[in-house]
């Protein structure tokens, strides 16, 4: 499979780097690694310090007005739910950072890694403690951004780049929906503060925009938490270094969507739509993911699919209103975070030490890496849900909760059983098989990892066992406050290892049996599952590719059509737009106002008009450019004569002078130019003609309408009155130019000077280059 990770990435870089810059890059400063763990540790302590109070039912609030004009505050809400998440994030973060310092030791971009992962952690913490929708969204997007950088950490690999982009765009899409949802929700609630919104559940559910709000927010949550059919980005995101996967793609970021569902529970849950959507999407995700998980031989990918399963399960349970179901969700959240992080880290150790993650070649590692084996075993047992692990409690609670779900207990329970059975099998594949049996050859000779690497998984796995033995700790510290926060009402939750013989226990037994069966059959099942998967018509990944291809094709098509590189087509569109929009407005706004009678005109007037028109006509139809220029000259002279006839000697002079200079310049330039070729005939020409007439017609109609309105001459009258007494000039036009509107003239001479400067640069710049 060859997923490049950590060390492989750096090795890969050395091979492609060509050698020139590597010397500088090889040794990053070491001090960040030594202090990076301090931040999560400190944060963990801070959050743990809040635990007693929050477990007691208190809520910590703090607010700072960030953008008050937009109703955005940097406000913090620490209740059972957010604190649970915060402790998981900072706690696992601590172990992951510690782990990374060994896992990525010597990596040239190690310090960037710390920067990214700590930024991610802070964003994630910000997300869960935010009490303001917009602030929450800000952190939400920041997790997307930092995870993009982390997934693409192995940047030289095209696969990593693609996966990073996929995760970014997919969760980004959800993020945008979420933003819209938040804005509408904020509008509906009249506030962006969660504290306000969470107590408005009844009003919100009755709001006319409830459905769009819900759909948009769910879109955000489902993409982030990789619910079917958006699940495919998560396995691809395994291109990231293993600590990243352990952290982002099991314990934290993917749970952001779950967090959101839990957070919004008091405000939005309880409706048919909520229940059914969450249940169906969650169940589908759980089942499909479990099946896909068994198919994998890459340990990390297998874990990734079980993560999907867990996310589906959590979603499914959050669809419910019942406190047991929600308690199941919270418990499973904690359970899953502990064992899944541990297992990911174990897989990382295996990979790091043996050089491979292929389940088919990994056997008998227990002797070489005993501590890792213990951690793996403990975590796997929790994952499989064996007593007395916390995983067992979580599973029992799930079944209890499933059966308590009023709407569809059978569906939920079945999905839970199937998923859990598969989980048992996968636990065997991932944590049992590699350590047992006889050693097979691996790329590297395995030996135990350094303590910084195994301490994390071991502690997390041991916690899974100890909390199983003392479930009240979890219940009081996390589950009960969490459920209270999610349901928005006080709930009493007790966790017990032993409930007596009841339906959940029976289901557990069925699960184990089924799980063991699946494990023994898994090597037989795997090719068949792969075959089924291959035949399955819709693969998210392929659809994704097709979507992107479609986008590119659409973009290319649009560019061909609009920005085809042909000037006259551009001009045609511009003129057509002008004609259509202005012409249509003329018509629909009833602006046409034709004069009643045609004025009588002296023959001189007619003659001059005829001269201008004829000059234009010659320019238009002649094939000789000289004739065209002469035609322009005639137009120019004609217009000058018009200026003469209507009292504008200054204009006539300027017009003639400018006209002459233009002719001179054209004559100079034309010496170097070829004769005009004939224009193509046919429909293009006819279309051009129609358009040209259209533009002319529009201009004439507007002119005529404007001329129907009597002109307000007050500005000119003022000029006439003060020109001599105040501006001391008898040529009013000149006084306007150099005094009344001197600023115009100033700009105008700047234009002329710059035109000369620009043309000079154009002409002489080339001359100098040629001479060189």
């Amino acid at each position: 499979m060859g997923y490049a990770i950590g060390m492989q990435a750096s090795a890969g870089e050395k091979s492609e780097g060509g050698g020139d810059g590597d010397g500088k890059l090889a040794a990053p400063a070491a001090w960040p690694g030594r202090v990076a763990w301090v931040l999560p540790a400190a944060l963990l302590l801070v959050f743990l310090a809040q635990l007693p109070a929050v477990a007691d039912g208190q809520v910590v609030r703090w607010s700072y007005p960030w953008v008050p004009s937009l109703g955005v505050n940097l406000s913090i809400l620490l209740d059972g739910l957010s604190l649970t998440f915060a402790i998981l994030i900072s706690g696992i973060g601590f172990f992951v950072v510690l782990y990374s310092s060994a896992y990525l030791a010597g990596h040239p971009h190690l310090n960037r890694f710390y920067l990214y992962i700590l930024s991610f952690m802070l964003s994630m913490l910000g997300l869960v403690v935010a009490d303001n929708l917009i602030t929450l969204f800000v952190f939400w997007e920041l997790t997307t951004l930092t995870s993009y950088l982390l997934i693409g950490f192995d940047h030289a690999s095209a696969k990593a780049r693609r996966s990073a982009l996929q995760a970014l765009l997919l969760t980004g899409t959800g993020g945008l929906a979420l933003l819209a949802g938040f804005i509408i929700l904020g509008n509906a609630a009249g506030s962006y503060e969660l504290t306000d919104i969470l107590v408005m559940g009844d009003e919100l559910r009755a709001h006319e925009l409830y459905l769009p709000i819900l759909i948009l927010i769910l879109a955000g949550a489902f993409t982030k938490s990789a619910q079917v059919p958006f699940h495919f980005w998560l396995p691809n995101a395994m291109a990231a270094p293993t600590p990243v996967s352990a952290y982002l793609h099991s314990a934290t970021m993917v749970k952001a969507g779950v967090y959101l569902l839990a957070r919004m529970h008091p405000a939005l849950s309880g409706t048919e739509v909520w229940i059914w959507t969450l249940t169906i999407f969650g169940a589908a995700t759980a089942v499909i993911a479990s099946i896909l998980a068994l198919r994998q031989t890459d340990l990390k990918l297998a874990l990734a699919y079980t993560t999907l399963m867990a996310l589906g399960t959590l979603t499914m349970f959050l669809g419910a209103e019942d406190s047991v179901a929600v308690a199941a969700a919270v418990t499973f959240l904690v359970v899953h975070s502990l064992y899944k992080a541990a297992l990911f880290l174990v897989v990382g150790i295996i990979d790091h030490e043996t050089g491979t993650r292929e389940a088919t070649v990994l056997r008998g590692l227990a002797r070489a890496m005993p501590i890792t084996a213990i951690a793996a075993a403990l975590a796997a047992l929790s994952m499989a849900g064996f007593p007395p692990f916390l995983g067992f409690i979580g599973k029992e609670l799930k079944y209890e909760g499933a059966l308590a779900i009023a709407s569809e207990p059978f569906l939920v329970a079945t999905a839970a059983v199937v998923a859990n059975a598969l989980m048992v099998a996968v636990a065997g594949v991932v944590a049992l098989r590699p350590f047992t049996g006889t050693r097979a050859s691996t790329p590297k000779a395995p030996h135990e990892a350094p303590i910084r690497m195994w301490i994390g998984p071991l502690v997390l796995a041991v916690m899974g066992l100890s909390f199983g033995l003392a479930p009240a700790v979890i219940a009081d510290a996390f589950v009960q406050p969490g459920v209270t926060a999610i349901l928005g009402r006080e709930e009493e939750i007790k966790l017990k290892l032993w409930h007596g013989i009841n339906l959940p226990l029976v289901l557990s037994l069925v699960t184990f049996a089924l799980g063991v069966l699946l494990y023994t059959l898994h090597r037989w099942l795997r090719p068949r599952l792969i075959e089924i998967d291959r035949r399955f018509p819709w693969h998210g990944d392929e659809i994704w590719d097709r979507l992107l291809d479609g986008l590119k094709q659409l973009a290319a098509w649009q560019t061909r059509v609009l920005q085809g590189g042909v000037l006259r087509r551009y001009l045609f569109i511009v003129f057509a737009t002008l004609t259509l929009s202005v012409g249509t407005t003329l018509l629909v706004r009833d602006a046409i106002d034709l004069p009643e009678s045609w004025p009588r005109l002296r023959f001189t007037g007619w003659a001059v008009v005829a001269l201008i028109a004829a000059g234009g006509l010659v320019t238009l139809i002649t094939a000789s450019r000289l004739a065209a220029i002469c035609g322009l000259g005639a137009v120019g002279v004609g217009i000058a004569l018009l200026f003469v006839m209507f009292g504008a000697p200054d204009l006539a002079i300027t017009q003639l002078l400018v006209e002459t200079l233009v002719v001179v310049l054209v004559a100079v330039v034309m010496l170097r130019m070829p004769q005009m070729q004939r224009e193509a005939r046919g429909w293009i020409r006819r279309a051009n003609a129609v358009l040209a007439i259209g533009v002319g017609l529009v201009v004439t109609l507007i002119m005529l309408a404007v001329l129907q309105v009597p002109l307000d001459r007050r500005i000119t009258s003022y000029f006439e009155d003060v020109s001599v007494p105040e501006a001391h000039g008898r040529n009013i036009v000149n006084v306007i130019l150099v005094d009344f509107r001197a600023l115009d003239t100033f700009g105008e001479i700047a234009v002329v000077a710059l035109a000369a400067l620009g043309a000079y640069g154009l002409v002489r710049g080339a001359a100098k280059r040629r001479r060189r």
Partner: protein, 139 residues
């Protein structure tokens, strides 16, 4: 251009044109003309000179590079615009001095507007000649 007749004519015509251009510039405030018209006629004169005697001769006759003339003109116009600010008036306010004015007679007017128009005049000459000469030399 190699034409004796044209060269001989140009001597007289250019002198006449320059004379007329200054005349147009100076009386532009009261009669048709002004900086543009004047400048354009002077530029036409020099362009004729360049055609008849060659661009090098025209450049020599101008002494300054045409682009520089244009920029100096722009500077003069800007100065005429800014000067009133020093007198406490808004930019481009006309400042007028009447030299030798007495009872009833205003005297010879000197004004910022005239200075401005001189700037316009120079810009037009400089710019048009930049264009004409550089194109002429290239083609």
């Amino acid at each position: 251009m190699n034409s004796l007749i044209l060269r001989a004519a140009t001597r007289i015509l250019v002198a006449l044109m320059l004379l007329f251009s200054v005349y147009m510039l100076l009386r532009g405030h009261n009669e048709p003309g002004g900086g543009f018209g004047g400048g354009l006629i002077a530029a036409v004169g020099f362009a004729l000179y360049a055609i008849a005697e060659g661009t090098d001769a025209a450049r020599k006759a101008l002494r300054l590079e045409p682009r520089t003339i244009a920029m100096i003109g722009l500077a003069i116009a800007a100065a005429a615009g800014i000067a009133p600010v020093l007198a406490g008036d808004p930019p481009f306010t006309g400042l007028w001095w009447f030299i030798g004015g007495g009872e009833g007679e205003k005297g010879l007017p000197i004004s910022s507007a005239l200075v401005f128009d001189i700037g316009v005049y120079l810009v037009v000459i400089g710019s048009v000649l930049t264009l004409v000469l550089s194109l002429e030399e290239e083609v």
